[in-house]
Amino acid sequence: MTNKHPLDPFRPPEPPSELKARALRAAEGAPRAIKSVPPPQRAFGPWDWAWAASLLLLILAHTLLGAASPKHAPSERAARPVSMQDADLAALGITNQMMSAPPSRMRRDRIQGDPSEVAGL
């Protein structure tokens, strides 16, 4: 029984004598990498100014004209007062707000408001 390694008396072959010079020569000619090269900085040129100005104009136009557009106008329905035809509804306690607000909101308003109304629901 032996614990010796089966390859103990042997050794791997020597490299050829010219290999050192060859390897060093090859390494000499290799380009050396430089770590973390910063990306080249581009100057802020006329095209960049033009883009910035047009973007600014677009934002400005949207701000100024946006409020005047129909989309942003106050809702006619919400502003509508209780008309003469609605007088009967008004007498029943049905307000214009009840007609325009969603029921869930009305219920929440009632819960936060008059407790007697809540009991009546």
């Binding site: 390859l7 791997p12 072959p13 490299p15 050829p16 060093l24 380009p31």
Partner: protein, 175 residues
């Protein structure tokens, strides 16, 4: 100073741009790199190409070499990858007809010659061969072998055990 200490200093010098460190690295690890490459490629010309490629990659690595913790394993890992790339490029397998072993200083063991030992080594699988080389001739730990070959520590240890058993069987050495 240990091999790893010399190599760490040389790699740090190389990272600072001192090209003379290349010769120090070759003297410290050139033989191991060549032997490893020869065991992987089975051809002296290919093995020389692998060693040359390692030094080219070292030169290209530049400042990244400063933080290498296990220099010998790192360089053997470079040789492993260079050999893999070479095989990919040349699209052929290693014939392993060259002498992979020479007689050591103590002379041949019993009746066994270096030629017979080389033939036995050639019969191992490439994976077993490289693990045997790294463990026996480069004195790497299984953890380092795992890093060199890109395998786990346990795989490296298991391959080594199987390779050793196979080698003992082939050489007719009792366990």
């Amino acid at each position: 100073m240990s091999d790893d200490g010399v190599l760490a200093g040389a790699l740090a010098a190389l990272a600072r741009g001192e090209k003379e460190a290349m010769a120090v690295i070759y003297d410290a690890v050139g033989r191991d790199l060549y032997g490893f490459a020869l065991w992987k490629t089975g051809n002296p010309d290919d093995a020389s190409d692998v060693v040359q490629e390692v030094f080219v990659r070292l030169a290209q690595a530049g400042t990244t070499l400063g933080g290498v913790s296990k220099p010998k394993a790192y360089l053997l890992g470079m040789a492993h990858r260079a050999a893999v790339d070479l095989f990919r490029a040349r699209r052929r397998t290693a014939p392993l007809d060259e002498a992979l072993l020479l007689d050591g200083g103590a002379g041949p063991r019993e009746h066994l010659t270096a030629r017979e030992a080389s033939l036995a080594v050639a019969k191992l699988t490439p994976e077993q061969r490289e693990v045997i080389y790294l463990r026996h001739f480069c004195d790497l730990t299984f953890s380092e072998i795992g890093k060199v070959l890109g395998i786990s520590l346990f795989t490296a240890a298991s391959r080594h055990r199987l390779a050793l058993n196979q080698l003992r069987r082939l050489l007719g050495v009792s366990l």
